[in-house]
Each structure stands twice: as C-alpha cells, then as structure tokens.
Symmetry: C2
C-alpha cells in the first residue's frame, strides 16, 4: 500500500494522528469536575467540541457550527510543543507563548499532506485571529469551559491563584463577544460565585 508509506498521504496522516496523541499528556490548570485531577488538553478539546454541538443555538444566526467544531478539535494541538499557559499569565509570558505556539503550528500541521496541512493551519490561524463569527464562538466556548469548571468546583483555579471577580469579568468579555447569551450566563455565574463567597469581589 504505497499511500501508507512514510511519504504517502495516508502515511503522513497517520504520522500526524500519532503525534496528536501527545495532547493527552498536556495538563491544564483546571480540574475535571469531580476534582480528582487536572484536565488534559485532549479531553478538554473533546468537551469543547461537544459544547459546540449542544450550545450551537447560542451562536449568532448563520454561524457554521461544523467549522466551529473542526476548529475546536485542532485548536490546542500546538500545546504538544508549547504547553498550556494559564489564562491569567502576564503579557510577557503571553507573548512568549504566542511565539512558541506559532512555531509549533509550523511544525505540526506540516506533518500532513501539504494541501491538508495548509487547510488545517488556516483553520488554526482563524481561531487565533478571532475575526470570523465561527472563531469568536469557538473562543467563547474555550473561555466558558473553565468558568463552568471553577463555578461547579466551588472555586477551582480562582481560589488556587487568588483571582478576583474583576479579572474574571475581563475574560468574560470575550465570551460575550462570541455569544451574547453565553456572556450573560457567564456573568451570572461570576456574580453568583461572589455571593456564595468562593470568588473575591474587586479588581
């Protein structure tokens, strides 16, 4: 089977899929909802893609949810090389992460057959640039998921890193930008967390 050889299209696709397996070993700051351990970026990506399927009705009319799903499935692959950065990291760390992720995208998508590699790389760039409704909705889900985790864990990384409500609300702006309904919902969770005493008020 020539196509399955190292340079053939199927061979390159399988090579890419083997590389992708490493995302299962990249740990995030957030825990899974039973609180037993940190979440990894592969299962996080699955949860986001499922959210796109289930919460699609919260996206602006005309949003292509299949494109959103495809974006969410690949958006974290760069963490295989670059690791996950905590959402409240400072600007210097964010810039360093950004450079590392772009280098990772160059390497990882180039494992695929060239046309397919370019297509998935363009999808990743779209997610990063956040200009289309699809990218905005995908980013909103990516931002909402840890808010849900922290809320239902009764504090989570908010408490572990002494994050305040004002900082969370800054991040929630990006949720509202992708989905007005989900933005409102996230703000309600923040307010409720403050009222219940597991998120500190203030900036």
């Amino acid at each position: 089977m020539e196509s399955a050889g190292p340079g053939g299209p199927l061979g390159r696709q399988i090579r890419f899929l083997r590389e992708a397996d490493q995302l299962k070993g990249v740990l995030r700051q957030s825990s899974i909802l039973d609180g037993s351990r940190k979440e990894n970026s592969a299962e996080h990506s699955w949860h986001l893609a499922l959210m796109a399927q289930v919460l699609g009705g919260c996206a602006p009319p005309g949003t292509d949810l299949n494109r959103v799903t495809a974006m969410l499935l690949i958006h974290d692959l760069v963490e295989i090389d670059a690791g996950d950065l905590f959402v409240y990291a400072d600007a210097t760390a964010q810039a360093r992460q950004d450079a590392a992720e772009h280098a990772a995208a160059d390497r990882i998508f180039a494992l695929l057959p060239p046309d397919q590699g370019r297509e998935l790389r363009a999808l990743w760039d779209e997610f990063e640039e956040r200009r289309t409704p699809e990218a905005r909705f995908a980013r909103a889900l990516d931002r909402l998921q840890p808010v849900l985790a922290n809320y239902y864990l009764g504090g989570g990384t908010w408490q572990a890193h002494a994050v305040r409500a004002g900082q969370v609300l800054d991040k929630v702006a990006l949720i509202a930008d992708g989905s007005a309904v989900l933005g409102d919902f996230a703000r309600e969770l923040v307010d409720s967390a403050v009222r219940q005493g597991f998120l500190s008020p203030g900036e």
Copy 2:
C-alpha cells in the same frame, strides 16, 4: 436569566455538559501511545473526531463527515453509566453491555431539552445500528484506533490478553466495511505485527 434555570433549555444543556464531564473518568483497555497509562473515553472520543477530520478522504464518496464527527463526539457517553467493554469480550458480556448502554442512553440524552435530546439519541442509535455510510465510517475509525495503538505500542492489549491475529482480522472486517482503504491498511498492520513477532498468528 430564565433559560439558564434548572428546567430552561440552557440550564438543561449545561446539566448535560456537566454530566458528560464524567466520561473523562472512564478508562479503556488501550493505553495512550507513550504507554504511560490507560486512555480514557473522553480523550479517545476527541482522537476519533480528529481522525474523521483528517482521514475523511478514506470514506466512501458522499459521506457526510460532519455527521460522522458529531456521532463520534457522543458515541461513548453511555459509558458514563455502562463503562467500557473490551472488544474481545464474550457474547454474554456483550449482550449485558448492550442493555446497559441502551438504559444509559435513555437517561443521559433525556437530560437535554426534549427536541435536542431526541436528535442526539437518534444519532447514537444510528451509530449503534451501523446502517448508514456515516455510521459505518464512524465505527471503522472506532475500530481502527486501538489497532493503531496496539501496533505502535508493539503489542499493547493484543499481548496483555493473548489475542491472536485471526481474532484481530475478524474485528478488522468492520473497518473494511466502513472504508476499503482503511480496511486494507489495518490488515497490513496486522500482517506486519505478526512478522515482527508481537502478534501471534492463528485463529
């Protein structure tokens, strides 16, 4: 926000997505590719959905790959109640598992708003019944992934459970049924594993 209350549509969707988080705690027989630990069903589902995106060209012409992806994202949710069953389990265990999975589907999809719950349940039934090209391709990927894992791990569950090449080839038939190309590829991996001595020949 009324829709986010316990009986409102958003409230039910969030409830479902919280329940889905438990799939991250369901362990499969297969290991992740670095051999460090067992794979869980959430990251497995992500890997399959990514395979659908990348290997879509191996599906019969006209296959709706977005539907395949949606199916793969939800196909294992029933394991939250029913657990994962090893693919080489006997017929009695398979029948018991089948009943447990149907009961789980009744419970889990009913968490959603009724229309959406019926839609996702129909998608799960379609996957199980394996009548459409989409379901056949999705099942082929679900069957291929552990073959890849065992091959690249140099034995994996084939060795751990003393599985023989003939048994693997019986399972590979379902891959060929969803994709002729991937069926050929899987057979080549089985032959190669036998030649390299980490899969025993015979029935």
